[in-house]
Amino acid sequence: MPSLLILVPLIGIIALNLPLGKFMKRLSFLLTLFFALLQACLVLIAPAEFWRQETVDVGGLLTFNLSADPLSLVLLLAIAIVIFATLLVGSETLQDDNKQFNFTNLLIIALIGMNGIVMVQDLFSLYVFLEITAIASFILISLHKDRDALEGAFKYLILSAVATLMMLSSISLLLMTTGTSSFSGVAVALHAGQNYMVLLAVALFVGGLFIKGGLVPFHGWLPDAYSAAPSSVSVLLAGIVTKTTGIYTLIRLVMSVFGFTPQIKAVLLLVGAISILVGALAALGQKDFKRMLAYSSISQVGYIILSLGTGTPLGIAGAVFHLFNHAIFKTQLFVNAAAIEEQTGTRDMDKMGGLAARMPVTGGTSIVAFLSTAGIPPLAGFWSKLIIIIALWMSGHYAYAVIAVLASVITLAYFLSMQRRVFFGTLVETFSTIKEAKAGIVLPAVILAVITIAVGVLFPYILNTFILPVKSLLG
């Protein structure tokens, strides 16, 4: 019953807004926590039949065509984990009761949107759920209504509208040429023969997804949105929203609908490589903690796209594995950023120093995340980057493999610089009395660090259970 992951949160949000006074406001946190945990448990323990049921008829009233394959399950798990972390950070950083209530409601809406994106089987339905997620994200970014947040939300809104226009045009062209909007129907029609109109449609859709995923050269909105958003919203955006709306959707459509044509592979490889380099080099020059992480995100997403561009089963497995790993360690880094911003009141790394002495858990967990991002063994990021580089080498893309390795060195450089400026060295006088962040921020940081270590150490099991089944989708 994949539709449960949409219907239950929807019923929950309606119940939360019944006029029952402050009780519902208090319940909103627990209910969102329940949805995240329920989703994680279902992904981990529900049998395969549960997810395969394509058409669900709820009392003859609602007939949905939803399903979840191994790729969807990886994303559903990542969504649950990031929603959990976002909720806890939000509960500590948003003091006002009304703001927190609106935040949890919008978080549930974003959850519904992302779950829909991951499980739909139709291009138009995909568009509808992309819009749900985008609208919830705009509002969440501007939650504090300060100038920077509104500017970040506005940039995201405008570029997202351009992406939407491109995708809707693409859907129209595909509907016109293939007569259907279902994934399977469009895929069959495209494999039967292509023309200029289909090529234009594919190019428009892929271009729209590049904007949504914040890939170079469509990344202009991303650093502003990530850095200007409230701490908890940055966790959500960087952790899962752009990955689901842009990167997952791209992987899904290329795998299941458009196919790995030589043109698509060439574009993915080129955009992936440029994103890796531009993101990493731009991250080197940042002094705002969250902007540095935003550029790092662009670079890491580049790895995913580069791996996808190989078009081989190993490359796809690497892309999906890095997608999951990146969701976890980037969420963690933004949780750490939230802890620092909350305790010091600044994001300027030049004003910090020696914070690890006063914030040992934040400092320790950020080391785990940055080592994983840089691809240091035995952490999760090492294995996914290794698979990506092997996939590139085995498919004959030697130059791209070298770029991937060299960019890892740049990644290590900017994260070492960040650690030195923020956590190591002599404690800055201004922050001599600060304390470790509150439990609601420290707890998700620790859990995410444990996941990063566990995925790395249990790599053979994770690979066989979650990642390799994705390859089977290529048929």
């Binding site: 007939t63 809406i109 829909g116 139709d122 339905s125 509808v128 509002i139 023309n195 200029y196």
Partner: protein, 164 residues
């Protein structure tokens, strides 16, 4: 040049007018005109229901909402409006040039558009399409409306409270 091409040209001019005009009320009227031309095109392409929606919602309801909102704002002074227009012209002078170049390029490329359009299915009952075939999208619309409600609450309601 047939009527559809004329309408498309008029649509482009009205759309450009709506985004280029510094007076918000005139821009909103131009947007309504854009919707009316689009409605005509939809009628001509045998999509009467879509045309009715376009006319009633986009040309009607949205224009009313825009007008109401604009009436609550303070307009630019004459000097500010002129300065704003000059600044915009300075920044975006290349956009019409790019548009013209793209049109000429596409015309010269002579892209073959001889693809086969599949036989259109028999006109479906709209009620059946909405309530039986696209239920998931309809549910999605409900969630979008909910998100919109929270958007209004987050962005406007608290502001009123702060002011009071």
């Amino acid at each position: 040049m047939n009527l559809n091409i004329c309408l498309l040209i008029a649509l482009t001019i009205a759309a450009l007018w709506s985004i280029m005009h510094e007076n918000l009320i005139k821009a909103a009227i131009a947007l309504a005109v854009t919707s009316i031309i689009l409605t005509t095109l939809m009628f001509r392409f045998a999509s009467p229901l879509a045309a009715v929606f376009e006319l009633s919602v986009c040309a009607g309801l949205i224009t009313v909402i825009f007008m109401s909102t604009i009436s609550l704002t303070k307009p630019l002074t004459q000097t500010e409006a002129v300065a704003h227009a000059k600044e915009r012209l300075k920044r975006f002078w290349y956009l019409p040039v790019l548009l013209a170049a793209a049109a000429v390029g596409l015309g010269l490329a002579a892209i073959p558009l001889n693809f086969t359009i599949p036989q259109a299915p028999a006109p479906a009952n709209v009620r059946s399409v909405l309530w039986n075939e696209r239920q998931l999208d309809l549910l999605g619309q409900v969630v979008i409306i909910l998100a919109g409600v929270f958007g209004v609450v987050v962005l406007f309601k608290e502001k009123v409270k702060e002011k009071s």
